[in-house]
Amino acid sequence: MLEFQGGSTQAFEELFTRYRNPIFGFFRRRLNNAGRSEDLAQETFVIIIRGSERYEALAKFRTYIYSIALKQLWSERRQEIRAGRLAAEPVQTSHESDPSTAMWIRDALSQLDDDHREVLMLREYEELSYEEIADVLAVPINTVRSRLSRARGELRVLLESQSAKGVTR
């Protein structure tokens, strides 16, 4: 990022290649709309380009980019809440995963508390360390641990109950 700040476009292209799919995946797992997810992922990179003058290497770039993505996500959710379409859209399953598994996981995750779910997803899908999650969410690291622990426990229970229902049917 510092090289890009110094004027190297090649440095940014490398960053983009490395993060384009993870950032798209970040939005895609959290939003129902694939097109909107792509727009927000693109906007995240545009924000990084435009804000490169003000960038300071105070933390890892990974923390920086996910912080921006998270703010974009919250902004999008606020807009969706205002528009009243947050829960109205049908759930779309991914093409690249087993539809039933994806749907189970998505359903179970959607029943978790917002804070718990975010910590768990940042850990499992974005593979951020505890420290990085704490930086991105601006919470103490012990809070990350406790939320993660609770989220895993709750998710396990939810998945087991869904599995039991599936067997019964």
């Binding site: 798209f24 895609r28 792509e38 545009v46 003058e53 991914s94 641990r145 998945l159």
Partner: protein
């Protein structure tokens, strides 16, 4: 670690599962897991959960997104310079520059206060002789002492705001006095007095601001004028004006405007400095369009203020340099014997015409009166006359009854 001393889930086992422990801690937990089925089971459950979660995969991003981002990147590269301009502006250097600025400010204040003490410690005359040569220019010498003093004042006020606002009258060349006079004169020779008045103005190197002459039959002419005479020659000018005729009324007025002038100069300097700073910001800093518009609006406002203050300063300077003298000169009136106008024959003819018109008007008036009230009179007569006749007959019948 014995089998009974289980590691805590949140602080040890879960971080071990997520690879968040150091090598030594991880080895210790791994050793415990080999002997503890409960903890190994918890770890296995969590691993299973992670595997389940990883079953939710998403597709990759499209080329459209890539094109959008790279287009923005190209646009930025084309429109902006490399970041060398701002790259040096790191947090540490901000501090370094800030501290250097503060240090320089302290040094300037210390030096300024030392210099001020030195100046004030001198006698008044010495202070004046030191300060005057440094600020008195050679150009205004020919325009008299007042102009020199004004110019010096202007220069002094332009040095710094703080110096201009400093209450040290000793450093001023003298008070700035705005003078005005008013004179009411009765002149026997009006034309002669008028030409003499104009020559007084010329000799004094002043000018006529305004002049009006009015005259009506049966009374003398009146001249109203506003003269602007140089302040150092106003006394001589007034003496000459008194000779124009009999002075009926005279008044003089003066006001000290030194503090207003200095204050105005200081505010003007301040405004010019502010304008200069804004101009620098506009040239050197980039920002949002709304910020640029705000700065330009502010510059426009300050420029307007500067021009207004410059006009005030110019007007004040003019009023100090040139005293205002208002003159009202009345001609001493002599009545003159003139032939009667019009002639007697014309007067007789005019009288007969007037008589005819009067008779015509009276006849017309009578006709109008009859037309206006006649019908009413006829109506009432028609109503009252028979009644009166009947009453009269009754009265007669009573009188002649045997």
């Amino acid at each position: 670690m014995s089998r009974q001393e289980h590691p805590t889930w949140e602080d040890e086992l879960m971080p071990y599962l997520d690879g968040q422990l150091g090598a030594a801690e991880a080895a210790r937990i791994a050793g415990h897991l080999e002997t503890c089925d409960d903890c190994a089971g918890s770890i296995a459950d969590s691993k299973r959960l992670s595997r389940q979660m990883s079953g939710w995969k998403v597709e990759g991003s499209s080329e459209k997104m890539k094109e959008g981002v790279l287009a923005e990147l190209r646009s930025r590269s084309a429109n902006t310079q490399p970041q060398t301009r701002w790259s040096w502006w790191t947090k540490r250097r901000v501090w370094a520059v800030g501290l250097s600025g503060a240090f320089a400010g302290v040094v300037i204040i210390v030096l300024a206060s030392t210099r001020e003490k030195t100046d004030l410690s001198l006698p008044v005359e010495s202070a004046l002789t030191i300060s005057q040569p440094s600020v008195v220019p050679s150009a205004p010498m020919q325009q008299g002492r007042e102009q020199e003093e004004l110019f010096r004042l202007e220069k002094q006020s332009a040095v710094t705001v703080a110096e201009a606002q400093r209450p040290s009258p000793d450093l001023l060349p003298g008070p700035l006095i705005m003078r005005s006079a008013r004179m009411n004169i009765i002149a026997k020779d009006f034309e002669g007095a008028r030409s003499k008045l104009e020559s007084i103005v010329l000799q004094s190197q002043g000018y006529l601001d305004q002049l009006t002459v009015k005259g009506e039959a049966g009374s003398g002419r009146v001249l109203s004028a506003t003269l602007r005479l140089p302040s150092d020659r106003v006394d001589a000018g007034l003496s000459e004006l008194r000779k124009l005729g009999k002075v009926r009324e005279e008044s003089q007025n003066s006001s000290d405007v030194t503090s207003q002038y200095v204050d105005l100069g200081a505010r003007l300097t301040n405004a010019r400095n502010t304008e200069s700073r804004f101009q620098t910001i506009l040239k050197e800093r980039t920002g949002k369009l709304s910020d640029v518009v705000d700065v330009e609006r502010e510059i426009s406002r300050i420029r307007e203020e500067i021009e207004r203050m410059e006009a005030q300063q110019k007007e004040m300077k003019n009023q100090v340099q040139f005293a205002s003298v208002q003159i009202e000169m009345t001609e001493e009136y002599h009545a003159q014997l003139l032939p009667s106008v019009p002639s007697s024959a014309t007067s007789l003819w005019n009288a007969s015409v007037d008589g005819y018109h009067t008779a015509e008007e009276s006849l017309l008036g009578l006709a109008l009166l009859i037309l206006r009230f006649g019908p009413t009179l006829i109506l009432w007569s028609a109503l009252l006359l028979p009644t009166g006749l009947v009453l009269r007959r009754i009265q007669r019948a009573k009188t002649f009854r045997p």
